[in-house]
């Protein structure tokens, strides 16, 4: 399996505070990779660093063999990496349709209709809400919209930051199932940052555990799920 995204020795700072301490990580083609960790471990920072904000101070980030470490954010986004950022960040005063159009801004409007149909196939609910403003959707629908918006650019790699944030367990499960389907049917590679370790590990082919800005463990999702240390720290509510 060739690596689609490969990160080596990545460090990042907020001012003088070090958030990432030499992270090595790989996402292969057609793989679902999860990154789990507690609050403040640096999960979202890692996700944002791939997009150059905060910029990596050391280390290299390669996407599809291309060095993207020092590229401007918007150019990275044009390389068929799509992101569904933490907190969803949909355009709340614009309609669902307009939100989806913004997602296609990079890919151009050539395959717009086809993409729209594809997205509606995955999230039929959005089709019903097409003319509604983003801000009037429920939390789950907003998350669907955020993912759908990211998919509108025909990405090879989807970065998902905390898709379960603030969602009811049932809706959460639905979202994870959709991600799984996207991976299996469309061959989409997914890099998932998640607090909900149980669901994330069940879904992921491989996973990394991030503690204080460094990867402490990695392995197959199913293996980590059984690992006593992971269980104690992230699954059974114990302290590590």
């Amino acid at each position: 399996m060739t690596a689609l995204l490969s990160i080596s020795g990545l460090t990042a700072f907020y001012g003088s505070v070090q958030a990432l301490r030499g992270v090595d990580l790989e996402v292969g083609k057609g793989e679902v990779v999860a990154l789990i960790g507690s609050n403040g471990a640096g999960k979202s920072t890692l996700m944002m660093s791939i997009f150059g904000n905060p910029r990596a101070r050391d280390g290299r980030i390669l996407f599809d063999g291309q060095d993207i470490t020092d590229m401007p954010t918007h150019e990275i986004a044009r390389l068929s990496i799509a992101q569904s950022p933490e907190g969803r960040r949909i355009f709340s005063r614009m309609t669902v349709y307009e939100n989806l159009q913004m997602g296609a801004a990079v890919a151009g409007f050539a395959g717009f209709e086809a993409n729209l149909d594809k997205v509606f196939g995955i999230f039929p609910r959005l089709k019903e809400r097409l003319k509604q403003r983003g801000g009037t959707l429920s939390g789950g629908e907003q998350q669907m919209l955020a993912i759908a918006r990211a998919l509108m650019s025909n990405p090879k790699l989807l970065l998902l930051d905390e898709p379960s944030l603030g969602l009811a367990p049932l809706v959460c499960k639905q979202i994870f199932e959709t991600v799984k389907r996207l991976n299996e049917e469309e061959g989409l590679s997914v890099f998932l940052v998640e607090q909900d370790a149980h669901h994330a590990l069940k879904l992921a082919h491989r996973a990394y555990v991030l503690v204080n800005g460094a990867v402490t463990m990695s392995g197959k999702g199913a293996d980590l799920l059984r690992d006593p240390k992971v269980r104690a720290a992230y699954l059974e509510g114990g302290a590590h």
Partner: protein, 438 residues
């Protein structure tokens, strides 16, 4: 019994309001500092005026509390108001007919004021409002220094017209482009700023422009300003009496209002063009990117939009229209000086945009008519002099009017006069309804 209670609660509220007015008014109304013979400041008591204010506050607050029952405030009921379809064409026809009707009714001499002050001036502000609406309303970049670009346009015309010998048709786009260029220049250093910080820097930029215009005597003649530059002509025919003028060629008796009517239509056409451009742009990817930028900058970047470019174009295009408006201002006044481009000018234009409801074209136009027209109308109310005495100048109170309008807006229509944001894409209703039903 209930009535008595109502009165007593209203009285209490009125007393409180009076106390506040007394406290606020004591230092600014009760005493006035004036220099005496020795140029030392002497305090003059103005107690009657002070008590008038207190009494007025008491009476008004009592009436308000009594009629509203002093009860809990009614929830804001903001109905979505959609402008009826006939409104646009009707307003357009009214605007086209207006100057001719005024001249026909009042004669060319009395119509001067109506075409100039209430026509051309208001339309220039509408144009400015629509321009700033691109920056503030659509792209969400708070610009407190819009008058700087207005000044650039006005001075560009006043300086270039005599120097190059070009007519205003050629200079109009030049003025716009120069202002847009300055829009770019101010845009670059502030790309990283947002919200309050952005506002402060634009404010400072406007002050820099104004102070340079004031002090660069060699070029701008400082406070004295520039005048005597070539004015308007009708496709080569100057608006002058005598055989070479426009009136003689058109077979009309000469009247000063001809020039103003021509200017009126010129401003009207340019304002409509600005409106058309912003309406069209909203449907293009660029316009939608502006709105997306206003909603969430980080999401924009994550979707691959170059936010720097989007901000710069919003700034430059807004500035372009200000430059055009500045050129028209110079043509109208025949005189430009830095005092026309102070912060209060920026504030007025911003107030027009905010009152109009950010992003709404019609609301901005209505707000411009109201704010500019009403403050001009205040000058006309001469009968108030018989009430408040000879020294009373109603025009002094126009900022009070702006304040009142703002307070009224906050209470009645907190999202602007016309608060609906039309989606840029109207989906064919039948198609979607059928699809969602299936």
């Amino acid at each position: 019994m209930a009535r008595l209670e109502k009165i007593s609660s209203a009285l209490r509220e009125a007393a409180l309001a009076t106390l506040i007015v007394a406290g606020l008014g004591f230092p600014i109304i009760a005493y006035r500092a004036e220099p005496d013979f020795n140029n030392a400041l002497a305090l003059l008591g103005r107690w009657p005026l002070f008590f008038q204010f207190c009494l007025a506050a008491f009476a008004l607050r009592f009436a308000l509390a009594f009629w509203r029952g002093g009860a809990a405030k009614a929830p804001i009921r903001e109905r979505l108001w959609r402008s009826p379809r006939w409104l646009g064409p009707a307003a357009l026809i009214a605007l086209v007919v207006y100057p001719l009707a005024v001249v026909g009714l009042l004669g060319p001499q009395a119509a001067l004021k109506w075409v100039d002050t209430y026509g051309v001036q208001i339309l220039i502000y509408v144009l400015l409002g629509w321009g700033l609406n691109i920056t503030v309303g659509l792209a969400g970049l708070l610009d407190l220094g819009y008058a700087a670009f207005y000044a650039v346009g006005a001075y560009a015309y006043a300086l270039l017209a005599p120097a190059t010998g070009l007519g205003f048709w050629a200079l109009l786009p030049v003025c716009g482009l120069l202002a847009a260029f300055w829009g770019f220049c101010i845009g670059f250093p502030i790309l990283r700023l947002r919200g309050d910080y952005l506002a402060i820097v634009t404010l400072a930029f406007a002050e820099i422009v104004r102070i340079v215009l004031t002090n660069w005597d060699v070029v701008t003649h400082g406070e004295a300003g520039l005048f005597g530059f070539p004015g308007l002509n009708f496709f080569g025919l100057p608006f002058i009496p005598g055989p070479r003028g426009f009136a003689a060629h058109a077979g009309l008796p000469f009247a000063g209002v001809h020039k103003l009517i021509f200017l009126y239509y010129l401003v009207l056409i340019l304002a409509l063009a600005a409106n058309l451009v912003s309406l069209r742009l909203r449907r293009l990817p660029l316009g939608r990117a502006w709105e997306a930028l206003r909603e969430d900058e980080i999401a924009c970047r994550a979707l691959g939009l170059d936010t720097a470019n989007i901000k710069l174009t919003a700034f430059a295009l807004g500035a372009f229209f200000a430059g055009v408006a500045g050129c028209l201002f110079a043509l109208r006044q025949g005189f430009v000086s830095p005092s026309a481009f102070t912060f209060s000018e920026s504030a007025l234009i911003l107030a027009i945009v905010v009152l109009g409801g950010g992003g709404s074209q019609l609301g901005v136009a209505v707000a411009a008519v109201f704010l500019v027209g009403a403050s001009e109308a205040l000058r006309e109310i001469t009968f108030l002099k018989s009430v408040f005495g000879e020294g009373f100048d109603p025009a002094q109170y126009r900022m009070l009017l702006v304040g009142l309008a703002m307070v009224a807006m906050m209470n009645l229509r907190p999202r602007g006069l016309v608060s609906t944001r039309e989606p840029t894409i109207k989906l064919p209703a039948g198609k979607i309804a059928a699809e969602t039903a299936s």
